[in-house]
């Protein structure tokens, strides 16, 4: 028997108290006045038999009660070694969960982790079965439930850390499913990791099957020190007709010691071109800005790198630099339109950094196929459209272009080209009486989404004196309505493109919206929506999934080219993605993925920079027992004993709860003592 808090046993000295009470009984301080002690004094003092214990039963009961209570407080428990070996007869299903997140590359963690995994494999008896699950941000089964120790050992050979971040949830779920399917009586999962705090977001609904035991084995050392490069900030500017970008890079210091003289190098295309030195405080970060770079070509691979430390992977940050493409907008007006017709529109489109808009005005009749090929969006600003132009526009929209029709009183559209969201009807005059106002906006629509929050744009302030009544076609959405229920903005998807009808003008002829603050964001959002614009992402994180078909980096070059592509991974592997399999590209490595067309272009059509998850670079460790508690449903106490990590004393003690019985017995004795004492007094 062992004790969890043996210091309490000192209280056993308290057992002397009842004995002394029995012997002396001097503590009763009642004084009896007696006429004379003449006779009492004559009785020899020593012969007084006050030290004789008379109520042996009472004394023993008190002693027993005290001793039991003291023992209960000492939290006794029986060491389970013997029981463990007895229960160890059943065959085991062992799942070795091996963390191969990039933080395991710190120091000798990976070697120790492999050693621990080999120990676990070597500990298997011939009747046991073992699985090996490798996990980082995801989990994969390296080898599933085999009794062949040679195969298990072989699966461990040649492994290296990955670029992923630690996530315990998927690994434990996978282990739970393997253990759940196992018919063997004893089921164990051995979790070998550096137990980074960032890898555990709470319970995550992970629960091993009933009776399964999770044995965490931590390979984290004490006080890890690590530097990491943080994501860069890109500041674009135009300089002499060319685009320049200023790169601000930073580093973070995950240690309690300051780091000075840290060299940050900027590499373009693999060659270092600039180096900056920074100093980092303990648990602090610092940043530095490099000289601007002129962007002359697309898909420039850039890397910020710092001098090596114990963890190599987070010392580099990759990103892709490309000149930003503006959204090309063609504004088509009616012949002889006054200058003011598109004044507000062109002014609005002239403003804007991300993205930039490149607006070109032309006459609707003069729209050529060449104009449309270069354009992303065509705005028909209160212009009648001829049949041929409408057909060209129909093809343009079906090919992925965007068409915005501002329907003033001169706008018309031939009925044969059925791409409009509604048929444009006669004008509605609201110049008499109250002017019309925009009553209902579809804030879920991407055009109005930014106005969703309170005080982020008031469309109701704009007054509309006239608009064209439009009857929505089937398949069209009315995105905005006037206060009388008439449609204000309608949308329809046609092929790969979209068509929007604005039933009023974009100048001050029919409404005063162009002078309201919401006009500029409204126009910008509409253009971005029609052009299918997506924010360029200069870098991704390992674990992200990229759709090469729709990636803006990839799609811009050859929109119509839907043939299969080849992805060149940072490790140099060629992966073929074909359209039929709807393959997506999961970024598993750190570095640059090049996406090329099958036709054998020398230049990649797109480059994706993949970086490690920076949360992983914070090496702060958590208590493995937290995961154990969540996965097993309790803090400790295993159903079976484990050679690798036997249950702790606390776990054994709390499982046995001997103290509870002792305390109960002690209280029983106290109660019985009270009864017996009362009887004997009576």
């Amino acid at each position: 028997m062992s004790f969890l808090t043996p210091l309490f046993l000192v209280a056993l000295a308290g057992l002397a108290i009842p004995i002394v009470l029995h012997l002396i009984q001097k503590e009763r301080k009642n004084v009896v006045q007696f006429p004379s002690l003449m006779f009492l004094r004559r009785i020899p003092y020593q012969s007084v038999q006050r030290r004789r214990i008379r109520h042996w039963l009472l004394l023993l009961m008190r002693l027993a009660a005290l001793a039991l209570i003291v023992l209960a407080f000492a939290r006794p428990f029986f060491r389970n070694d013997g029981l463990g070996s007895a229960a160890a007869s059943g065959a085991r299903e062992v799942v070795v969960l091996l963390d191969r997140s990039y933080s395991m590359g710190y120091g000798d963690r990976w070697r120790r982790a492999l050693d621990a995994a080999r120990d676990a494999v070597n500990g298997l008896t011939p009747s046991d079965r073992g699985s090996i699950v490798l996990f980082s941000s995801g989990a994969e089964i390296a080898i599933r439930s085999t009794g062949d120790r040679g195969r298990l050992a072989a699966a461990l050979a040649g492994l290296d850390t990955g670029a992923g971040a630690t996530r315990f949830g998927p690994a434990l779920k996978l282990a739970g499913s393997i253990l759940g399917e196992s018919p063997l009586p004893r089921r164990e999962a051995i979790l070998i990791s550096d137990f980074q705090r960032a890898g555990w977001q709470g319970a995550e609904g992970v629960r091993l099957p009933e009776g399964a035991v999770l044995m965490p084995i931590s390979v984290s050392g004490d006080e890890p020190a690590n530097l990491a490069v943080t994501p860069v900030a890109l500041q674009r500017s135009a300089f002499e007709g060319q685009e320049r970008v200023t790169i601000t890079a930073g580093a973070v210091n995950h240690s309690t010691a300051p780091a000075s003289g840290v060299n940050l190098a900027l590499e373009i295309g693999g060659r270092p071109i600039q180096t900056r030195q920074i100093a980092l405080e303990a648990n602090g970060s610092a940043s530095t800005t490099f000289e601007p770079i002129t962007l002359s070509e697309r898909n420039v691979k850039a890397t910020v790198r710092l001098a090596g430390d114990a963890l190599e992977r987070d010392n580099a940050f990759h990103f892709v630099l490309s000149p930003e493409d503006p959204i090309r907008v063609v504004i088509a007006e009616r012949p002889g339109a006054p200058r003011e017709t598109s004044l507000y529109l062109t002014r609005a489109l002239a403003i804007g950094e991300a993205p930039r808009f490149q607006a070109a005005a032309t006459q609707a009749d003069a729209l050529t196929a060449g104009d449309l090929a270069k354009a992303s969006v065509v705005i028909l600003n209160d212009a009648p459209v001829a049949q041929s132009t409408a057909e060209r526009l129909q093809r343009f929209v079906q090919g992925g272009g965007g068409l915005f029709i501002a329907a003033g009183d001169r706008a018309s559209w031939p009925a044969s080209a059925d791409i409009l969201p509604g048929s444009i009807g006669p004008p509605v005059d609201r110049s008499k009486g109250n002017a019309a106002r925009l009553g209902a906006l579809e804030y879920g629509h991407s055009v109005f989404e930014i106005f969703r929050a309170p005080r982020s744009g008031d469309f109701a302030a704009a007054r509309f004196y006239g608009y064209r009544s439009v009857t929505p076609n089937p398949g069209a959405d009315v995105v905005a309505r006037f206060d009388d229920g008439g449609a204000a903005l309608l949308e329809r998807r046609v092929g790969a493109g979209r068509v929007l009808i604005w039933t009023s003008t974009l100048d001050l002829y029919w409404n005063d919206l162009p002078v309201k603050p919401v006009f500029l964001p409204f126009v910008h959002r509409a253009m971005r929506h029609l052009a299918g614009y997506r924010e360029p992402q200069p870098w991704r994180t390992v674990g992200d999934v990229v759709e090469p078909w729709s990636a803006p980096e990839a799609s811009r070059g050859a929109r119509t080219d839907a043939s299969s592509r080849v992805v060149l991974t940072p490790a140099g592997q060629r992966v073929t993605l074909d359209e039929e399999g709807a393959e997506v590209l999961e970024l598993l490595e750190q570095g640059f993925y090049e996406i090329r067309t099958q036709s054998g272009d020398t230049e990649p059509s797109a480059v994706v920079a993949s970086n490690v998850d920076l949360r992983e670079s914070d090496l702060a460790a958590m208590d493995p027992q937290e995961i154990r508690a969540a996965a097993m449903g309790r803090a400790g106490g295993g159903g079976t004993a484990e050679d690798v990590a036997p249950p702790t004393d606390q776990a054994q003690e709390s499982a046995q709860r001997v103290w509870w019985y002792l305390l109960f017995a002690g209280l029983l004795f106290l109660g019985a003592e009270t009864i017996v004492a009362n009887r004997s007094t009576v």
Binding site: Q25, V31, V32, F34, P35, F39, L40
Partner: protein, 303 residues
């Protein structure tokens, strides 16, 4: 027992007690000096009906007392002498030392002593004897000289007696002995916490003058049977000294010692012709007095 009488000490004269002992007499066993006719034998011959002796006539004798019948037979003059009856001095000596303040049955020994003294005084007063009272602890506290008119004074004094000081028998009793010039009846009421020899030595001077001495030894039942159970610190009422005592262990020896004490007293007093009466304060006073007085009367007759 509480009386509405104007005399504060009247409560000590218990009608219940008197109803039982009212027809008894406390008569001095020895001759007592008195001035008026009473029930006690006088040291002198007098005009009573009890023939005492004949003696030869001497000139000057009253010829009326010549026994003429004897003269006829013997031809000599003899004078017939008669016993003289006298009244007596009666004094109660009450121990008011602190130990007398002890009592376990709702009544202290001093209360009992006061009632005993009151009842006896009243009884004696009815016999037309002179009554007095002395209260003492280590010294004489109160002194009422014997007088036929001192009944109320005695009762007053009895009322204000309080146990206040440690007691001592020898000094006050020796002092008293000098006061009692005339032979009389003395009743000593005390708990006699002294060695029997010391007690006897203390009372001896009272006897020397020819006083008839009656000793009432008052003891509480707790003092006799030592019925305590809880181990306690026992405090001496007189000295204040404390001794831790486990009564159950000591009771046997204690009772043995008390018995030996009483036996010692009994033996010594009877050897010195002193009436000794052990009174347990749990015994009703009337019972105690009745038994004593009847016993004394019987013994007197025998004598």
């Amino acid at each position: 027992m509480i009386s509405s009488s104007a005399i504060p000490g009247a409560r000590f004269v218990d009608p219940v007690v008197l109803a039982r002992i009212g027809n008894l007499e406390l008569v001095a066993r020895s001759v007592v000096d008195g001035f008026i006719n009473g029930i006690h034998r006088s040291p002198y011959f007098g005009a009573s009906v009890d023939f005492a002796e004949h003696r030869g006539y001497v000139p000057g004798d009253d010829i009326r007392r010549v026994d003429w019948r004897l003269y006829a037979r013997t031809d000599r003059y003899y004078i017939k002498e008669y016993e003289a009856d006298s009244n007596s001095n009666f004094a109660t000596l009450v121990d008011v030392s602190r130990s007398m303040g002890f009592g376990t049955r709702g009544i202290t020994k001093l209360d009992y002593a006061r009632m005993l003294a009151g009842c006896l005084t009243y009884l004696v007063h009815k016999q037309r004897d002179r009554i007095g009272l002395v209260a003492f602890d280590s010294d004489i506290v109160e002194h009422v000289p014997p007088s036929a008119k001192h009944m109320e004074t005695v009762l007053h004094v009895l009322d204000r007696l309080q146990p206040s000081r440690p007691g001592n028998l020898r000094a006050p009793l020796h002092k008293m002995a000098e006061h009692f010039g005339r032979r009389g009846l003395l009743v000593l009421i005390s708990d006699l916490y002294e060695d029997p020899d010391v007690v006897l030595e203390a009372v001896a001077p009272l006897r020397f003058r020819g006083n008839d001495l009656i000793v009432f030894h008052l003891l509480d039942p707790a003092e006799l049977d030592f019925s305590f159970t809880d181990p306690s610190a026992f405090e001496d009422l007189e000295s204040g000294e404390q001794i831790p005592i486990v009564p159950e262990a000591l009771a046997g020896q204690y009772r043995e010692l008390v018995r030996a004490h009483i036996t010692g007293l009994t033996e010594r007093f009877s050897a010195n012709r002193v009436d000794y009466m052990l009174v347990n304060t749990s015994t009703p006073l009337d019972h105690a007095l009745f038994s004593y007085l009847t016993t004394r009367e019987r013994l007197t007759r025998v004598r």
